[in-house]
């Protein structure tokens, strides 16, 4: 794996909120096809780390190299790069004022319609393409009959699966998940994890913050254990879970397993 070029390279990443140093000098690389699971106690900086990867939080130091570009550089047009990084939130964050179908088509249509017109398509043709693509995605998760309803009428599990395919509609190179099942009722966790597993099996590169240890072990190809803003330990899941080298890691697993 390591003779490949990393998809995302994190070099000396730092993030502070005022006086609070949340991330302190994090360096790692995420290779194509990897499923990196980020674990760690509450407040250790997992979400902040994930949100720095697509610069939803502006890093206060270090570099994030994505496809040869340091996207942490404020002079970079971050929107262009974010299109290739899907993100899924704990609270789903579906657009409340848009139907399910519009939730999925909004970004591809808004972002690519100009280019489509340049390529000789009419706006209407391109819109239809976006809709067709969205319907394929909805069919895949078995929710095509929900295309024209508003998010407020959906269950949590349905919302999160739609949030996932909304991100997929941009054909991302990597998917970032921040506790995708933490806000769900227990009976809905399975359907969401199954979809994520499916994506993993198809080869999608992923970074996943989760508290689902079984899932982390099964799907993860590498574990990052974060503690107090640094990566305290990393390695293959079996290694980190069964033979943690760092006492903090051992303590954490003892508490959660």
């Amino acid at each position: 794996m390591n003779n490949q070029k990393p998809l995302i390279e994190v070099k000396g990443l730092q993030k502070s909120f005022g006086n609070l140093d949340v991330l302190r000098d994090i360096s790692t690389a995420i290779y194509p096809g990897e499923k990196v699971v980020v674990l760690g106690p509450s407040g250790s900086g997992k979400s902040t780390f994930l949100r720095c990867l697509n610069c939803l939080e502006d890093p206060t130091g270090g570099e994030i190299i994505f496809e040869d570009v340091n996207i942490a550089d404020p002079s970079v047009n971050i929107n262009v790069h974010r299109q290739k990084m899907g993100m899924v939130f704990q609270q789903f964050n579906l657009f409340n004022n848009k139907t399910v179908l519009e939730n999925i088509t909004l970004a591809p249509y808004t972002i690519y319609s100009k280019q489509a017109v340049k390529d000789g398509k009419t706006k209407k043709q391109f819109k239809q393409e976006c809709i067709d693509n969205a319907m394929v995605l909805l069919r895949r998760i078995g929710l095509e009959e929900k295309a024209n309803v508003y998010p407020s009428t959906l269950s949590g599990g349905q919302k999160q699966r739609i949030a996932i395919v909304r991100a997929l509609a941009m054909n991302p190179k990597v998917m970032l998940f921040d506790e995708p099942t933490s806000a769900l009722d227990p009976e809905m966790v399975g359907e969401v994890l199954d979809l994520i597993k499916e994506l993993a099996d198809e080869g999608m590169t992923m970074v996943i913050v989760t508290h689902e240890m079984g899932f982390a072990r099964e799907v993860g190809t590498r574990v990052l254990f974060m503690d107090e803003g640094v990566i305290a330990e990393e390695g293959a899941p079996a290694e980190v879970f069964d033979n943690p080298k760092n006492p903090r890691t051992a303590q954490f697993f003892k508490a959660v397993l």
């Binding site: 929107n79 262009v80 939130f89 789903f92 657009f95 409340n96 004022n97 909004l106 959906l154 909304r166």
Partner: protein, 253 residues
């Protein structure tokens, strides 16, 4: 006998009074088709209020948006200062003076008084709508903007498609209330000779030398419009809260 003449006199008096009241009413309404003037005035009042509400909503939403974006991204501090300056100036001075400044100074060579009145009240209302819209923007979940940005949409694209529609919807009732206020407040455009409903009684009095019915009729017309609009406001509020209950229900599923 004495009482007989007395009651006859009273009858006469009553007839005389009734005739005179009827006469006054006729002069105020029917003579020279004066009723048309009230309707024209009413039409002008509503036109000024509608245009002012549109201008005010656009200005107010823009002011609130500048402050909202400045708070979220810290990138619009100069624009935000200008917005707050505008709000302070407009709120801190009487609208009558603002009207006179626009009418007699800024647009002195423009003879469209109605439009000047509408612009004045639009500018004035904008400063108040800014406060209403601020609450609207703050009621939109931060996750909405984050989701838009994470998909690669720009701040402005996300504002336009996601945040602004939700912010405006969330503050529709107070916005509509502001429109109702405008219908009444714009009565002062009469100061600069604009023929709105508030100006009509004075105009008719200058011909009939009688204020009673003209004032009464204008008041009744204002009241009728306000009552109709208030009814509409209640319908809007009901619709919105129904939507909310549905949202809540789905969350508990």
């Amino acid at each position: 006998m004495c009482s007989l003449t007395n009651s006859a006199e009273k009858e006469d008096m009553k007839i005389f009074l009734a005739a005179s009241i009827l006469e006054r009413f006729k002069k105020a309404v029917i003579v020279q088709d004066r009723w048309k003037m009230y309707l024209e005035g009413l039409g002008n009042t509503i036109a000024i209020a509608v245009v002012a509400a549109i201008i005010g909503t656009i200005i107010g939403v823009c002011l609130a948006m500048v402050n909202y974006l400045n708070k979220k991204t810290g990138k619009l501090s100069i624009l935000s200062k200008i917005a707050n300056f505008y709000i302070t100036i407009v709120r801190g001075t009487p609208v009558v003076l603002q009207l006179m400044i626009l009418y007699f100074i800024v647009f002195v060579s423009w003879d469209n008084g109605m439009m000047i009145g509408a612009i004045t009240f639009g500018i004035n209302s904008g400063a108040y709508v800014a406060e209403i819209a601020r609450a609207g923007f703050e009621s939109v979940d931060d996750g909405q903007m984050e989701a838009g940005r994470s998909l690669g949409l720009s701040t402005w694209q996300t504002m336009w498609h996601i945040v602004i529609p939700q912010a405006v919807k969330n503050c529709l009732p107070p916005l509509f209330n502001e429109f109702i206020t405008l219908v009444k407040e714009t009565a002062i455009v009469g100061y600069v000779g604009i023929m709105d409903l508030g100006k009509i009684p004075g105009l008719i009095q200058s011909r009939t030398f009688d204020y009673l019915f003209p004032l009464l009729i204008a008041a009744v017309l204002y009241l009728a419009v306000v009552l109709v609009l208030t009814r509409i406001l209640h319908i809007i509020e009901k619709k919105l809260s129904k939507g909310e209950r549905r949202n809540g229900g789905a969350l508990n599923e």
